[in-house]
């Protein structure tokens, strides 16, 4: 049901893109929405991150996944239980670039009246594959916005198209991004537990990304868009002189519509995990709790039971037990 709802939402987006593509209001998609979506994305992203960052971190609640730094002859695990900022940087880098925590993933089944834990690295593998592919694709797209094309973008594209399959060359990242997204969607539909927890927005995010990727692939390999015209348009955005595009094709309009939807929706969605991961207190704090005092900005006095009150209540009993007293 949730999957169907998201699918319908994607259809509506497609139809509205087509609906305005070849009408006089197509400038909405080519001249207004690029700025609107990009502004919402940047402003929204900053707003969300600032909103999180403004909330204090009252306690240092690191999740320790390795040996603490204690006695000098016991080997500390600097990446899983960092004792200083360098360790934290290392730990965060492992999370960001390699999805360290997801790599631990296991699954469980009751076999012969016992839970058996199996390795389950598929989520890690396809998750990582998808994210890296998307990053490469986004970087490759910079060639539409920079003139002359920076050499590193050319180099990246050359490596990505290393196998030189077909004309134009099939990019490896295009294949892997589809593989990643398909796996992520497939498991959400097929694994009963995952299906059970999935919201409309979970499917929508995947379908939207698949939409972006599919239209991109279609344009490159099946319904070629005129790259000169596309680049004229994109450079026009960058120089704040959006031109009216010619001969870029219907698929291009759908592609744009998906991308702008993604940009505008991003800051309000779970996709903000991209910014949030940097702020996660269980990962980005060192396990140096007993070495350095962590300050809580709202640490306020509370009602405690003082020793004086305690002795007051139990004085006779303490005396009887021969315990030392403050006041006889």
């Amino acid at each position: 049901m949730n999957l169907l709802t998201s699918f319908i939402a994607i259809l509506i987006l497609t139809l509205s893109a087509l609906g305005i593509a070849f009408t006089p209001i197509s400038f909405l998609l080519t001249a207004i929405l690029p700025y609107a979506a990009f502004t919402v994305f940047i402003a929204g992203f900053i707003y969300r991150v600032v909103k999180w960052a403004k909330v204090p971190v009252p306690f240092r609640i690191t999740t320790t996944c390795g040996q603490q730094a204690s006695l000098p002859w016991i080997r500390n695990n600097p990446l899983e239980s960092p004792s200083n900022v360098w360790g934290v940087i290392g730990r965060m880098a492992m999370e960001l670039f390699l999805f360290r925590s997801l790599f631990r993933n296991t699954d469980v089944a009751i076999v012969g009246q016992k839970p058996i834990y199996g390795s389950a690295k598929w989520l890690w593998f396809f998750g990582l594959l998808f994210h890296w592919s998307l990053l490469i694709i986004v970087l490759r797209h910079l060639r539409f916005f920079i003139e002359p094309i920076a050499p590193w973008i050319g180099a990246l594209s050359a490596v990505d198209g290393f196998f030189e399959i077909g004309v134009p060359t099939l990019y490896l990242s295009d294949l892997t991004v589809v593989a990643g997204l398909t796996f992520l969607l497939f498991r959400r539909v097929v694994v009963p537990q995952l299906h059970y927890i999935s919201l409309v927005t979970d499917y929508f995010a995947l379908l939207l990304l698949l939409g972006v990727v599919t239209t991109g692939l279609l344009m490159r390999h099946f319904f070629p868009a005129d790259l000169i015209h596309v680049k004229n348009l994109t450079l026009g955005w960058v120089t704040f002189a959006p031109a009216v595009p010619k001969e870029v094709g219907a698929v291009f309009y759908i592609h744009l519509c998906f991308v702008f939807t993604l940009l505008a929706w991003f800051p309000f969605s779970k996709l903000m995990h991209m910014g949030g991961i940097f702020l996660s207190p269980t990962r980005n704090l060192a396990n140096d709790n007993r070495t350095k005092r962590h300050l809580n900005p709202w640490n306020a006095p509370v009602k405690v039971h003082t020793y004086e009150e305690y002795e007051e209540e139990f004085r006779d009993k303490m005396k009887l037990a021969g315990l030392p007293l403050e006041k006889e």
Binding site: W52, A53, V55, P56, V57, P58, F59, I61, T63, T64, C65, G66, Q67, Q68, L71, W73, I74, E80, S101, L102, N105, T106, Q113, P115, L123, P192, Q193, L194, H195, Y196, I197, S198, L199, T201, F268, K270, G276, I277, L279, S280, P281, T282, R283, N287, R290, T291, R293, L295, N299, V302, K303, H305, Y307, E311, F314, M318, A321, L323, P324, E326
Partner: protein
């Protein structure tokens, strides 16, 4: 109301992981007997000044809530979103990838999808979306938002008291989302309208008044410790001292009250007494700070601070140099991650130095509290203890990492170092079930009560089965641990799932092997059982 009869292990192990046919928001919460805890009593709530003290029980139709309970909860939610970055972030960034789902011992043992950490969090997240996000306000159910109704509140109660705050899920989450943090907030909110459980509030109230969870008064603490000293004399022929509330001692020693109150913790406590006597440590216990554990952790952050304050206050009053802490799990989460922030700074104490070895515990230089496993490992390393591991030859030992020292401290090697020096037969459980991936005893966070027994046995099943595996493979008959709640909880868990395995503390194991000056020939272990292995 009597506790439900817990099904036999053969029935309980038949766990089905297929989710129900109805979507989770439309699946009503049934308070199944054996899976919930009695409500906090009026006396305890009143003693602590907690809101809405009244007589009620969770299965009741009418929970006797204040008329404006919704606005109290929503206001409380708003306040916490502004005070805890962890909470706000964890409400926002979950992608529901499901990596945490089958990592929860309660889910593994029950198959109830609302025990998947992701869904347990969604119970609260759905309400957050509805009242605190633009899309939730506008699109409601379409974006996973729902109204805060009485049924939602009851659902929170049921499932936030089916989480032991063990943090195993947070190890596997790609963003480090910690269900313990969400459960803690959920319980704080429930507390605002007087919905709590007696196995938490009564110990907390006792702790506030008498200094320990069990409500033992000063004379009682003294009697119990002296009784244990007599037992030590009986087993070893050595008379050990029990210094109490002694001003001018070098070190204040704080232990969980379970260690001097009941078996098998008492044997661990005898172990402490023997060790500290043997090395001639200048220390004192305190009747005022007669509890290191802190059931505030299962109530609210404010309550953690209220119950923890006595430790530094007592250290200051007695004029000690630093503090040593006994074997306990959640106690060490509070001491390691909260105490200094809440009740520091500790300018009246000194950086801990072992008077026996001269070792400086630089890792505790701010908090000034050292874990006894760190202290003892250092003693062994420096050759200060005479040990005869053959006295433990009858034991085939495995070790359970307690959740909090594991995932909130990283205390892995110290206890293993000790165990490896005091016994000859030590076998680790499967890799997925130890260290940072350790599985909970199923009874932490205040859930270790009788009426909740079925849920405890379910939640403890994964741990028990890992023990069963080493029992079958290596003949393991002893389960060592470093936590007072474990010592109680694992004992009943073993009786249920793996009969024949006895639970013991690491310092009990150590004291068996400890050769003391002037001791008589040791013929029994600390429990008075013959040293058959010699």
């Amino acid at each position: 109301m009597s506790a439900a009869k817990t099904p036999k292990p053969d029935e309980l192990i038949e766990v089905r992981y297929a989710p129900p046919a109805t979507p989770w928001m439309e699946t009503p919460t049934v308070f199944r007997p054996g899976a919930w805890s009695y409500s906090g009593n009026v006396k305890s709530l009143t003693a602590l000044g907690l809101p809405n003290p009244r007589t009620w029980q969770p299965p009741d139709e009418d929970w006797k809530l204040p008329e404006n309970w919704q606005s109290i909860i929503l206001e409380g939610l708003r306040e916490r979103l502004e005070k805890y970055r962890s909470f706000r972030l964890f409400m926002d960034i979950c992608v529901r990838c499901g990596a945490c789902a089958d990592k929860c011992h309660f889910y593994i043992g029950s198959g109830d999808p609302k025990n998947m950490p992701v869904l347990r969090a969604e119970l609260l997240r759905s309400v957050y979306r509805r009242y605190f996000t633009v899309s939730g306000k506008r699109f409601g159910k379409l974006v996973g938002a729902r109204d805060l109704t009485i049924d939602v509140l009851k659902e929170w109660f049921y499932y936030f008291y089916q989480c032991t705050e063990c943090r195993r899920c947070s190890v596997f989450c790609p963003y480090g989302i910690d269900q313990a943090e969400i459960t803690m907030m959920g319980r704080e909110l429930l507390n605002l309208v007087g919905c709590n459980i007696n196995w938490v509030t009564e110990p907390a109230a006792n702790c506030f008044r008498t200094g320990n969870h069990l409500g033992i008064q000063p004379g009682g603490v003294k009697d119990m410790l002296e009784f244990l000293a007599d037992d030590v004399a009986d087993r070893t022929g050595v008379h050990v001292e029990v210094p109490l509330n002694r001003k001018g001692a070098e070190i204040l020693f704080v232990i969980p009250s379970g260690d001097y109150f009941a078996d098998p913790g008492t044997y661990t406590c005898m172990g402490y007494l023997m060790l500290l006597h043997e090395i001639g440590l200048d220390f004192t216990f305190s009747t005022y700070a007669s509890e290191g554990g802190n059931f505030g952790l299962f109530t609210s952050h404010e309550m953690i601070k209220r119950l923890n304050a006595k430790i530094y206050a007592e250290a200051k009053r007695l004029g000690v140099k630093w503090i040593l802490g006994g074997e306990c799990g959640h106690m060490w989460r509070v001491l390691h991650q909260y105490m200094d922030t809440m009740n520091g700074p500790t300018d009246f104490l000194q950086e801990p130095v072992s008077p026996i070895t001269g070792t400086r515990f630089a890792n505790a230089r701010s908090t000034k509290m050292v874990h006894i496993a760190e202290f003892t490992a250092d003693l062994i390393r420096n050759g200060k203890l005479k040990l005869d591991p053959s006295r433990n030859d009858a034991y085939r030992v495995t070790f359970h990492d307690s959740c909090n020292p594991a995932r909130a401290m990283g205390l892995f090697e110290e206890p293993r170092y000790i165990i490896n020096h005091v016994c000859k037969h030590f076998y680790e459980m499967a890799e997925e079930t130890i260290r940072e991936k350790t599985l909970c005893c199923g009874s932490g966070a205040g859930l270790g009560n009788e009426e909740n027994e079925e849920m405890r046995m379910r939640g403890g099943m994964p741990r028990a089965m890992a023990v069963k595996q080493v029992k079958e493979r290596h003949g393991v008959n002893r389960l060592a641990c470093m936590c007072a709640i474990d010592r109680a909880a694992l004992t009943s868990l073993m009786d249920y799932w793996v009969p024949g395995v006895t639970v013991m503390g690491v310092h009990e194991l150590l004291a068996n092997a400890l050769v003391m000056t002037g001791e008589k020939e040791r013929t029994t272990d600390l429990r008075g059982e013959p040293l058959t292995g010699c």
